[in-house]
Every structure is written in C-alpha cells, then in structure tokens.
C-alpha cells in the first residue's frame, strides 16, 4: 500500500475509464476555478435578452434563461457550488463514518453492537426524505445542506471501515503494537487507518457523486441555498419553460450527468488500480 500520490494518478491515467473520468473532472474543476475570470459579473446578472437559444447570439454561447441571465455563467458558477457541496459533504461523512467504523471494528463487543445497530437504523430511514426534513425545518443554507447530506451518507463508510478494522486487527503487526504498549488511539490512527485508505478512497468518489446528486435534487425542488446558484437551481428554474425552451434544463442536466458519470468512472478505475485482486470479478 505504498502507492505514492503521483504514481496513483499516472496509473489512473493509464486506465481507460480513469483517463476519461479524470479529464471530465478536470474540466468541471477548471470551470469552477475559472468562473470568476470568465464571468466576473456572476450568475445572477441579467446580462442580455431573455430566452436566447444557444448559438443565437455569439455573446451568449449557451443562451440565456427566462430572466436574461447567461446560462454559461450559471454553468460555470454553478460548478463551484455543486463541486464544493459534493466534496465537503463527502469529507464530513468520511470523518463521521471513519470514527464510527474504526471504534466499532477495533473495540468490538457492546460498543460495536450499539454503533452497528445505529448504522443499520440510519440506513433504513429514507435518506432523501430526512435530508428534506432537515433542510426544510432548519432552513436552507449551504452548511445545513452539507450537514443534511453528510448525516445520511456516513453509514456506508462506517461499514466499510469496520470491515477493514475487523480484518486488520488480528494481524501480527497490530498485535506487536499492543505488546510494545502502544495506546489504542495511536494503533487506530497511525497503524490500522493508513491500511484502510484504499477502500475509503474508492468509496469517496461515489460519495461525492451521490452528494452532488442530492444537492442538485434539493436545489431542483427549491430547497437549495437561495444565495448560491448550483446546477440543480438552474435545472429547477428551467423546468417551468420545458415546453418552449428545453435547452434551459438540458444544459445543466448534461453538466450534472457528465460530472457524476466521471466520478463513477474514476471510482471504477480506482477500484481496479487499488484492488488488483478483485479485477477479474467485476
């Protein structure tokens, strides 16, 4: 498991779906970083005549929406919100899931019982409905949305980490650490956790993809942060004009689907690169 970060990227680029996925993700990240440079006026400005179709006016390559806002500006600035929410929600759920999973797997016994029953229970509750309840009652803002997504998606990571800990805690190197009197916390953090990184990394790409979809779904319903335009917001706004101007929904939808597809492709590639033994099975 001594894969350096550089060689990991090189190996991903050699993998066909890894290459396609990474290129698409790079494009999305590039849009997020360049949003302020290419569209300094921001996504909310009414920049031109409303309902311009893509290509109708060279100044608005992707057209404008019903209020005359530039769809390209929305797409670029929207990628910031979608990617940021996706990534932060994934990080928070990885932190919660790793803490729960490692305590559960390392200590076993009643603690494991309690934590796993809790994890089971969390997985049974309809997650999108809970996310709506949280955002609806506490009020829509980016931190609430990130919290709502994280709180419903950590159980998957917890199970994964627990399974790895159950396997690793019986290994000789862990036993040796115990014998030399290393504290539990140190064994968990410095000895076992680094060995669980591979499955966590694989799962994280799917986690980001799911988080982006949940955020888009909330924004589509009108439960997004009213001050942040994400791809889901543009989709929701465009829906009203679906009959006459379908490009308003098609453009953000394409961005959303391509990004999620890219994350899934990278996830598959990571799985092949990091778990070569499993390659023939999938």
């Amino acid at each position: 498991m001594t894969v350096g970060s550089q060689s990991l990227i090189v190996r991903l680029l050699r993998h066909p779906s890894g290459l396609v996925g990474l290129l698409l993700i790079a494009l999305a990240v590039g849009m997020a970083l360049g949003a302020g440079y290419f569209f300094p006026a921001g996504p909310w400005t009414m920049a031109g005549p409303p309902r311009l179709w893509p290509g109708q006016n060279a100044a608005f390559l992707l057209g404008t929406d019903s209020l005359g806002r530039d769809l390209a500006a929305g797409l670029f600035h929207g990628s910031r919100v979608s990617l940021a929410v996706g990534a932060s929600a994934a990080v928070v759920s990885i932190v919660i899931g790793t803490v729960v999973g490692s305590l559960s797997g390392y200590y076993g016994g009643w603690l494991d019982d309690v934590l796993m029953r809790l994890t089971d229970a969390m997985q049974t509750i309809p997650s999108f409905l809970s996310a709506i309840a949280i955002v609806g009652i506490v009020g829509p803002s980016l931190p609430t949305i990130i919290f709502a997504i994280a709180i419903v998606s950590w159980p998957m990571i917890a199970r994964l980490v627990r399974a790895e800990f159950l396997r690793l805690r019986t290994y000789d190197f862990v036993q040796s650490c115990r014998i030399i009197g290393m504290s539990d916390i140190r064994i968990i953090v410095t000895q076992i956790l680094p060995n669980c990184l591979a499955p966590i990394i694989v799962a994280s790409s799917v986690l980001v993809a799911t988080a982006i979809i949940v955020e888009a779904s909330l924004s589509f319903l009108g439960l997004g942060d009213p001050n942040a335009m994400s791809w889901g917001t543009i989709l929701g706004n465009g829906r009203a004009a679906l009959r006459t101007a379908w490009y308003m929904t098609a453009i953000p939808a394409a961005a959303l689907v391509l990004t999620v597809l890219a994350l899934n492709l990278v996830g598959d590639a990571l799985n092949d690169v990091l778990n070569p033994r499993l390659k023939e099975r999938s």
Binding site: A133, I134, G136, I137, L221, R239, L242
Partner: protein, 338 residues
C-alpha cells in the same frame, strides 16, 4: 407442515429458534423508529422559534397569550418531559393537526399513502425484473459486444438522477410525441370505471415508475452480472452441465436461483431510497402521494405533516425490510437464524 428429519424446511422459522430471530429483528425495527422520533424531536427544537412563535406569526398575540399557549402545549416543561410526551403521542399514531390541509395529519397521510405504495412497489418489481435479465444476458455474453453495450447503458443509467430522467421522458413522450399524459394520477374528471380506469392510471404512472426504475435497473444489472458470473463458476453448475442439461435450464433454473440472493438484499435498501426519490418524482408528475405531501409541507411550513410523513414512510420501510428478511430466510436455507 412437518419437515423430514435432517432437511431444512422453508417454513422452519415457525418453530425452533425463530422467536429469537424475530425478536432481534423486531428490536432493530423499534430502534429505527426510536431514532426517527428522537431525531425529529430535536430537529424541531433546533429550528428557530417554536410552535407558538409560528402560530403567533399569523396573528397579533400578546406575550401573555403566548405564554399560556406554551403551557397548554407543554412547551414550558423540561426537554426530556416534552420528548416523552411527544413519543407517547406518536405511539398512538397521533401526529397532530395539519394546518395546510385543515385535517389531522394521520387522515391526510392515509389518503396519500396508496399512491406512493403503488409507485414504489411497481418500481421495485419492474426494475428487479429488467435489471436481472440485463445482468444475466450480460454475464452470459461476458466480454463480447453485447456485454459491453449493456455495461455502457448501465453506466449511463447509474449516473443519471431520476429527476433528470423524468424530465427527459416528459420532453420526449409528452412534449415531442404528445403520446403520454404529463401529470396527475388519472385524467381529471374522468368518468371511466373498471378496466378503462385502470388503463388510464397505468398510462399516467408509466413515466413516473420508469423514471424511478432506471437507477435501480443499473444497480440490479451490475449486481446480477457479478453474482451470475460468480455462481456460474461453482461446482454444482458444472455438475448440472456435465449431466447433460440444456444450457438454458442450467442458467435460468440452477444458477439464477442462487444468483438472485444478493438482489433480494438490495430490494430492502431500494424501498428506502425510492420512498425518498418519490418526493422528486411525485412533485414533477403532480401525483398526490406522500412525497408530494412532504414537499408541500416543507413549503407551507407544516412541520407536523412533514414529520408525520417521515414517520409513516420510515415505518413502512421498516415493515417491508422485516418481510424481506423473512423472505430471504425462506429463499436461502443457509441463512443463520442466530
């Protein structure tokens, strides 16, 4: 039914260690509901303002009146006492009153529940059937162009959120072709009865159900393919082939039965996800189900109704999962009853 000694009857859970197994599953179900209730309670506590503030928002109430209302609703009690009162009300399925519908929450939900149940159940059945077929076909053609094209289809379906699929369907079938009704559970003011009514409803539900299905077709397809490839390698399948059974029988009778087990496990998770997904689909297609109710409740700030929907949805999912666990035991004699 009395099983021969030494064999495992599919109905063995009716005797022996069954009570312990059922108790274990039941306690898990109770824990889920407890989590929902305690979670909902503290969620409402976290929100800015309490029930009386909301009521006062619509009228000019004096501070005295507000204080007496707080006493009446028990909001002056310690938090733990309030939680206990809240829980004992929910046990009696008393979710309070829905200002939005001017009716008790339970009545509102019972009226909407069947629509969501029809949506979810038909989506589970249809996506499982299509996904399994695609997975089996894919596995039998492993590596050739058929497998590759199915795999690419799965990848795209897997990446496309249900509400995007729903919009694509509306655009294509309703706007361009004009072939499908765009919204509603049945034609407004329809006089049709019997089969004609059923056909009308089927037409209205076709697109919503299909939109809910696609993601899970991809999941079942992927699991089905992997599981089929695994099973096809096992000794008993080779034995079946060796004794000269036709390939069709080997695949669809011998291998498929075991390959189906991981798919059944997935169904429990799918029901939970679909109940959430129904919010989007029912909102897009204007269906009067629980999801649409949750959506309306959020925007009208009808907290009682929202939490009632969350509670009943979770309860339904818990019951379905319980049934699936029992079903799994019937299907797979290897399942431990511990």
């Amino acid at each position: 039914m009395i099983a021969a000694k030494g064999t495992k009857s599919p109905l063995r859970f009716l005797s022996g260690p069954m009570p312990r197994y059922v108790l274990r599953r039941l306690s898990q179900a109770v824990l889920v509901m407890l989590l929902v209730v305690v979670g909902s309670f503290f969620l409402v506590k976290m929100a800015p303002g309490d029930l009386v503030d909301v009521l006062a928002g619509n009228s000019d109430m004096t501070a005295d009146q507000m204080a007496s209302l707080r006493v009446r609703y028990g909001l002056d009690q310690p938090v733990m006492v309030q939680l206990f009162i809240y829980m004992s009300r929910l046990v009696m399925l008393d979710f309070g009153y829905s200002p939005l519908n001017a009716a008790p929450v339970l009545d509102v939900i019972m009226g909407r529940w069947p629509v969501t149940a029809i949506l979810v159940v038909s989506s589970v059945v249809i996506s499982m059937a299509i996904g399994t077929v695609l997975g089996v076909v894919s596995a039998r053609n492993a590596g050739n162009p058929v497998d590759l094209s199915i795999s690419i289809l799965m990848l795209v379906l897997y990446a496309t959120p249900s509400f995007v699929i729903a919009i694509c369907f509306i655009l294509f079938f309703s706007v361009f072709l004009g072939a499908m009704p765009i919204a509603g559970f049945a034609t407004v003011g329809t006089q049709a009865t019997g089969l004609a009514y059923v056909w009308d409803v089927v037409q209205h539900l076709a697109m919503p159900v299909a939109a809910l299905c696609t993601f899970y077709v991809a999941i079942y397809g992927r699991i089905g393919r992997a599981s089929m490839l695994e099973v096809l390698k096992l000794d008993y399948v080779r034995t079946a082939r060796a004794k000269g059974l036709p390939e069709r029988r080997v695949v669809y009778v011998h291998a498929l039965r075991n390959a189906l087990l991981p798919l059944v496990t997935m169904a429990g998770l799918q029901v939970s996800a679909l109940v959430g997904g129904a919010v989007l689909i029912e909102t897009i297609f204007g269906l009067p189900g629980m999801g649409r109710t949750a959506f309306d409740a959020v925007f009208e700030r009808d907290t009682n109704l929202l939490l009632g929907v969350l509670f009943i949805s979770s309860l339904s999912v818990v019951v379905v999962n319980f049934v699936i666990d029992l079903l799994y035991m019937v299907l797979d004699p290897r399942v431990e009853l511990a």
